[in-house]
Amino acid sequence: MFGLQLVGASEGALKRGTVYVTLGRMEAKGYVTSEQEAPVEGAIGLPRRIYEPTALGKRALRAWSHVARELAWEGSS
């Protein structure tokens, strides 16, 4: 997904001013990879970057979701 698509999909949780910084940090930690989109004929701007989660990133997300669920359950009891 592109950064702006992530912003749109997050329904306000991500801001366009912070999404690339976050993605940059995640890429440095190996949670996501990125590549430039193929150049489009006649496009005026820079090519955007397409981000994709790595296996490590997916695993980290699963672990984080699990912990968050557990903590939420602890908090609600």
Binding site: R16, G17, Y20, A43, L46
Partner: protein, 229 residues
Amino acid sequence: MKPDTRRSGTPSTTRVPGRLLLALAARLFEHPAQLEAARAVVADLQHEVEEAGGNRLLRMRALIKGCLAYWHVVALVPLALPVPGAPAPMLASGGTRQNVFSYALIGLWVALWLALWPAFGWFSLVALGVGFSVAVALRRWYDWHPGFESADNAIRYPQRPEINLSRIRVGGDIGGIFFVVGSVVTVLIGLAPVRPFALAALACGFATSVPLFLWRSSHPTKPTSILVR
């Protein structure tokens, strides 16, 4: 004449939005990860403007939102995407702790400036302008003469925010000249009676330094250990 020129009456080269922002990012950030974050925001801006087509309102909206996001990134990148392992400028260096110190020092400086405004007024603003210009000149000079800032010095004297004058490194370089000239001018402005003495001291210093310099130049085997480290 090209087809699009006939159609619009303007040259065929389209003015690409965000070029200035890209150039600025290239000046601000050297590390690829930092630069990439700024480029990504500009790419979004450009694509949104392109998608807006001829709708001026949508184009303006895309430009404003893109510019806001760009400046947000510029402010965040030095904190969130530090340059790994290299001696770096104050705000672009690694480590949140150091950046916190940097921002704390800036906050302290702003508070001091505001507190002194009733006493010094516009003079403080002029001093600010001169100080900023000197800082930029110093930085440009070191950029043009990178050999003066050795790796050894960079390790021994890391660029940290300091308000303690004794921690500011002054060597036999352009920084030393700025420091000496600035100190002398400050004293001469404040203490008018010493001005004749300063002129005499300047003449004596010149009379001493020229023969000394010539003698040192003609005897290169003698180490100038005080001036050159």
